[in-house]
Amino acid sequence: MDAYRDQYATLFRNGKKVVLLAVSVDPDTALVSWARDKQYPFRFLSDPEGKVGKLYGAWEPKYKLDNRTLFVVGPDGKIAYVADPFQEIDPKAYDGLKGAIDRSAGE
């Protein structure tokens, strides 16, 4: 998540017309505490039963966690880009994501 925070201005345009939602099975209180400690500027969503993870095919049934699957949803409500998995710690992963956001939100 640190990489998302550190690139929030360039990659996610400081949240202007681009919304980052980070989803996990963690309780909301654990997410608030982490976001506060790390000063993450974006939203987390708590999905303790994995219902949205299952809906999107990001669910790992063996560990009852979400895989690091990332989706970009365009303004038309359709999925425009999928990274499965998104390697957050690999700098190269961001080229594809930035391209997808730029295509979706306009250069």
């Binding site: 939602l21 608030v32 999107y56 669910w59 970009v72 359709k78």
Partner: protein
């Protein structure tokens, strides 16, 4: 012998293939299904749940991850 090995390989591979099907992500071009979840930020827990449809006409990045306080 070769037939037996192939049969055994298929028997072992089948459950893994079935399990993997659970985790096939939605494809590009699919309408993203709406959802409603409790939101958490550095400022606290949201009073009302967040829906995907709250952000219509914007670009939404949905990043699933394992667990809070883990890398990646």
């Amino acid at each position: 012998m070769r037939t037996a090995v192939i049969a055994l390989t298929m028997a072992l591979a089948a459950p893994a293939a079935l399990a993997a099907q659970d985790t096939i992500p939605l494809a590009v071009g699919t309408v993203a299904p709406d959802f409603s979840l409790t939101v958490a930020t550095k400022d606290g827990t949201g009073k009302t749940p967040v829906r995907l449809s709250d952000f219509r006409d914007q670009t939404v990045v949905i990043a699933f991850f394992y667990k809070a306080r883990t890398k990646g």
